[in-house]
Subunit: 318 residues, 2 copies
């Protein structure tokens, strides 16, 4: 493990000054072609790589964006993350990814670390009960994903549209007894917004509304099914595909496969296990990309206004 070369070593080897090497590295036009070639040759020969630490210190920008997610095992989050990373890589940025496990305390700790790292920006995956005010020191170089915010740029999912599309689908099929399984109101998006869209649809179309809530887990949905359905039930719409999987399993066990199932998230597993179920593609991947693009744009040109983007969704039928 030999000590890595510095820009000065290259300069000496090429018989030029430090700054000339620096210019070559940064594609500065003011270098004679022959000199450039000579320097480049030395660089290639030793495959010299300029230190980003030094560059970061000098330029006051690290080329790193901090990404704070709640849970890497979440399908929505890791899908968005993949889209986001590709966009960042393409622009020469790296990501410092940190996981909060839904703990506001960990989020705060991570933000502190990211501040010391001089990250150029932050992408924050919102979760139920998170405290966005901790992002203040980073504004306007941050984007929040999956929740709305008045204070920061945001990319959110179309919770309202997703539920409405599933409901409209069943409604168009002539179904009228459509029940809904959601999660705690405390959750702004998956909990409150989606339940609200359900009620709203029922009102508009004069449908009998019947809604239950449970924990966001397969088992909870499974158990909640019995108290949600009755002999009239024609369809169950769920606030997420995880819930839909739980409900579908229970309905299968009960032999109630006459009941239609709708979910949100377009999870592979739901389509595979219960092909008859419908789901809504929320566009996690694209939302991730969009969040990254938004952040990068903010880094380039200090923004005039706070931007909000709602990711379009679309129904996926068998």
């Amino acid at each position: 493990m030999t000590k890595p070369l510095t820009i000065l070593d290259i300069a000496r080897l090429a018989g030029v000054g430090k700054s000339t090497v620096s210019r070559v590295l940064n594609n500065d036009a003011r270098v004679k072609d022959s000199t450039r070639a000579k320097v480049q040759a030395v660089i290639d020969q030793h495959d010299f790589l300029p230190s980003k630490s030094a560059r970061a210190m000098r330029a006051q920008r690290s080329g790193v964006v901090g990404v704070i997610v709640a849970k890497l095992s979440s399908n929505s989050e890791n899908t968005a993350l993949t889209g986001l990373l590709n966009t960042l890589y393409a622009r020469g940025y790296d990501a410092a990814i940190m996981e909060t496990q839904f703990s506001q305390q960990k989020a705060q700790a991570h933000l502190d670390v990211l501040k010391r790292r001089n990250v150029d920006g932050i992408i924050f995956f919102g979760f139920s009960g998170c405290d966005l005010s901790a992002l203040a020191p980073f504004a306007p170089h941050c984007v929040v994903l999956a929740i709305d915010s008045n204070d920061y740029a945001s990319v959110s999912y179309d919770n309202q549209g997703a539920v409405t599309q599933v409901m409209a689908h069943f409604y168009a099929q002539g179904l009228r007894y459509i029940h809904f399984l959601g999660i705690d109101e405390h959750d702004e998006t998956t909990g409150r917004a989606r339940a609200h869209a359900y009620h709203s649809f029922c009102d508009r179309h004069q449908l009998p509304a019947r809604l239950h809530r449970c924990e966001m887990s397969l088992h909870a949905a499974y158990k909640a099914t019995d108290s949600l359905i009755d002999s009239q039930t024609q369809a169950v719409v769920c606030a997420s595909d995880t819930l839909a999987l739980g409900v579908a399993k229970r309905l299968q066990t009960l032999g109630r496969e006459d009941i239609a199932i709708g979910g949100i998230g377009n999870h592979d597993m739901l389509r595979f296990m219960f092909p008859r179920a419908v789901s809504v593609e929320l566009g996690y991947h694209q939302a991730g990309q969009h969040a990254a693009e938004l952040l990068l744009k903010q880094l380039d040109e200090t923004p005039t206004e706070i931007t909000h983007w709602t990711q379009p969704c679309h129904l996926v039928v068998p």
Copy 2:
């Protein structure tokens, strides 16, 4: 957005020298308590955070470890990642996570970036067909996960033991016609090692071996089931829980629920959808932790020998 304070600002504000502030920051004992308190007060008051870029440059170590994974959406990988991250955070390291999507080319590009970032070490999640030689510049500050290597420290899963445990379980139940669904031999671990363990068990116990291979996907497993089983089949062991889910679904459709199912990976979904299936917990989370610990140990004390660790596994029955 006011310009962040530097250690010099703090020194002036506290009426001391730069290095005294530095000593306070690094818990150097040689500071009078009263002075320390005075400096700390100023630090707290302005919630000053020392720049890691500068520190990295000075210390020639960035406090960052590069983590290269194949696919964030993989259950095994993101589970291991979570374990790994917690361990790194606890020791004050951050992770630069990069995704290869199984592309060796991307892996190489990521490694180049990580080298310029002066990362202190690398944790590389092995995938089928990956070229470990690209890690050479980082040795001995790297650990590979999920595959074996003679050249680098590694943490691998007990592929042999996992298959053997499932087989032994079925064998103990008196089952003798146990078939196996695997993936391409080209994959060293999930493909070759697990198939080999199957054959080996059959030989030892004089069981008729019947093995098929398919792509690693729910649908492929679903379709492969028909040609794998026959009227005698008593159990199907799968090289992964994904395959097991595909097979189980097909068997359910066929009404062949007399056939026992065994998988590897202890995936939540398998246990929920098919509670009668058995699976093996490979210890992804712990393997991730262990990989991080191994790397950190190597960073502390330059290692004498290349360490290899096989993560113990255990059967999970209903």
